[in-house]
Amino acid sequence: MRIRSPRDFWAGLIFVAIGGGFVLLAHQYRLGDMHRMGPAMFPTLVGALLVALGVILALRSLVRDGAPVPSFHARPIIMSLLAIALFAIALQWLGLVAAIAVLVLVGANAARDVRQLDNLALAAVMIVFSVAVFVWLLGLPLPLWPIS
């Protein structure tokens, strides 16, 4: 057995896992019957369809050639996700100003060519802009500073 189309194979497995997961989770809710569909009915139907499609994809990838999975580059995705998560933590405890600073300064490292001085300036610009537009002009309820 050789996987001829790795992209389809892995996509198929992911779909089987997700569809199966939803079907299993749906078990804890009432299924009902077709006349009175319970909260579990529709997710079970769609989840089963997803599993079926995943199985077809995975099986087909054993007989049909396809492109390999393109390489993953660690830096951009990890830095981006880290920056967003840190933004969330900082926003909760330290307020918007600190959160944007963290987001920009960490997020900018997702690129290969990083110039910290530029990023400091960019962070300052983004803070001023966001506070002026989102908080003052549009009046969105964002905490600016740490909650005392």
Binding site: R7, D8, W10, A11, I14, F15, I18, G19, F22, A26, Y29, R30, D33, M34, H35, R36, M37, G38, F42, P43, V46, G47, L50, G54, I56, L57, A67, V69, F72, H73, P76, I77, S80, L81, A83, I84, A85, F87, A88, L91, Q92, A99, I100, L103, V104, G107, A108, A110, A111, R112, D113, V114, L122, M126, S130, V133, F134, L138, L140, L142
Partner: protein, 499 residues
């Protein structure tokens, strides 16, 4: 002339000073972000969504529409000058547009793109005004069974017309539907798939989902294969096309508009398909045809008219049926729901000021774009000089603030990160996010309508095929699937035969 009086009413709404202002801001911001390469209209609308949170439904929608066609316009500027499409629907514009720029005719190329888009936008607006009301009236008569089948048809059509593998696209639709079901079930009150998280009771944040799949993952992929871009901004000259240009383009614009308007209504259609089709048709029909690909002005006029017409008419199914034909329209529906308005045919009768105000504002918006684009093109080009490394952290900031500000929930920012990771893996595996977003929006509506249909029919699923209109939609969906699957089957059989 009911349409005219309706349009007059809409103009009254759209011409209030604040709506004009929001329309202008929308067009301006849309063009601004649209010019930047690598940020498509979906990401633009998603990113700029938080700007509309503080507004009422009508100004918010007017501004979002402005952002959408502004982004569309801005994309063509980039296509002509840099040979990088600002978004996928201006890919074909690069063919002849950039050639014109190389020959020192960047000005007329930009000019005809703006003029063609303006004419197309005006005509498409009229089409919406005429065809939307009867369609909504028809849709109001639909029973749940018909509505369910219509949504199945809409999703299948959107999937079939999109690029990439059919099975993956349908799987992504299913995945989207399942994600859409997270949260409180309106019928039973059960909180589904929430893993005990209180924050998930209202469902997964749509804005976070859209930003993750179209904003963050896009940035990450751009950072992975970074190419040096050469900006072509030497001299633009006069943006006014000559009289000969205009004469050459008259029929191209007309054909582009007609084709674009038609394709825009189709699910999965919209601007992208329209511009490609218009260019192909133009290449076949226009005489003499030899100059295409070498800077023929008609090769700019036709697709640009078509993509604007298509962008405009794709509002028809969104406004009348509550069914998005592409991810941007899914975002619009998301914006409506954030404003507390249930999308569907009742919007027109219950909120006429919203409906007609939006349509009238499209007219005004198109005029504004003409004014914004022609004299200010020099300003937009300057934007192209901003390096991407300064741009993408700004995208992060808008996405994060936007995700948080929808409901003021930190949880949504974490969801943004998690969904970005998921989107990244799926994109690497060649699974397109567009079908998923459509499924996410339509999932709960499909469940609700299927439930009601089954309730009425006492659990008899054949009601979906015994009601003629419903059967028609399902048959059409099946026909589309077969039309795509059969040639593939045939091709594979031929492959096998050759082996």
């Amino acid at each position: 002339m009911e349409t005219l009086s309706n349009l007059a009413f809409g103009l009254e709404v759209a011409l209030s000073w604040q709506n004009i202002l929001y329309c202008f801001i929308g067009c301006f911001l849309g063009t601004l972000v649209g010019v930047l390469p690598g940020i498509g209209p979906v990401a633009t609308v998603a990113m700029l969504l938080p700007f509309t949170f503080g507004l009422g439904p009508a100004p918010a929608l007017i501004m979002l529409a402005g952002i959408y066609y502004g982004a569309q316009y801005g994309g063509s500027t980039t296509a002509i000058l840099v040979n990088i499409p600002g978004e996928s629907s201006s890919v074909v514009t690069t063919l002849d547009g950039h050639q014109m720029a190389r020959r020192g005719r960047a000005g007329p190329a930009l000019g005809i793109a703006a003029i063609g888009s303006f004419i197309a936008g005006c005509i498409a607006t009229l089409l919406i005004a005429y065809f939307a009301p009867p369609l909504a009236e028809l849709a109001l008569k639909f029973s749940p069974a018909e509505y369910f089948s219509l949504m199945v048809f809409g999703l299948i059509a959107a999937v079939v017309l999109a690029r990439g593998s059919l099975i993956k696209a349908i799987a992504m639709v299913c995945f989207g539907i399942l994600l859409g079901l997270i949260g409180t079930d309106v019928n039973s009150g059960a909180i589904r798939f929430a893993f005990g998280q209180v924050e998930l009771a209202d469902g997964l944040g749509f804005v976070a989902l859209a930003m993750a799949f179209f904003g963050i993952t896009d940035v990450v992929l751009n950072l992975e294969h970074k190419e040096a871009q050469q900006v072509f901004t030497s001299r633009i000259g006069s943006v006014l096309p000559t009289l000969a240009d205009l004469r050459a383009c008259f029929w191209s614009i007309a054909r582009g508009t007609a084709l674009g308007s038609l394709l825009g209504v189709l699910p999965g259609g919209g601007a992208l398909l329209a511009s490609f089709a218009a260019y192909m048709v133009e290449k076949k029909i226009a005489k003499p045809p030899r100059a295409f690909g070498e800077g023929d002005i008609r090769g700019v006029a036709a697709p640009e008219s078509a993509n604007n017409a298509g962008a405009q008419t794709s509002f028809i199914p969104m406004l009348t049926l509550g069914i998005p034909s592409n991810p941007t329209m899914a975002l619009m529906i998301g914006a409506l729901m954030i404003q507390g308005i249930a999308p569907g045919p009742q919007v027109m009768t219950e909120r006429p000021e919203l409906f007609w105000g939006l349509i009238a504002s499209m007219w005004i918006g198109n005029l504004m774009l003409l004014v914004l684009n022609l004299p200010l093109v020099g300003v937009w080009i300057k934007l192209l000089a901003v390096p991407y490394r300064l741009l993408f952290p700004a995208i992060f900031v808008f996405c994060c603030i936007g995700a948080y500000a929808v409901d003021n929930k930190i949880f949504d920012v974490y969801a943004l990160a998690a969904l970005s990771a998921l989107g990244y893996v799926l994109l690497k595996l060649d699974c397109e996010p567009a079908p998923m977003v459509l499924g996410f929006i339509l999932g709960p509506m499909m469940e609700e309508n299927l439930r009601r249909a089954m309730m009425i029919s006492f659990g008899d699923p054949t009601v979906l095929i015994t009601r003629p209109i419903s059967a028609g939609f399902l048959l059409a969906a099946l026909a589309l699937l077969l039309a795509i699957a059969l040639p593939a089957l045939r091709a594979r059989r031929e492959e096998a035969m050759q082996e």
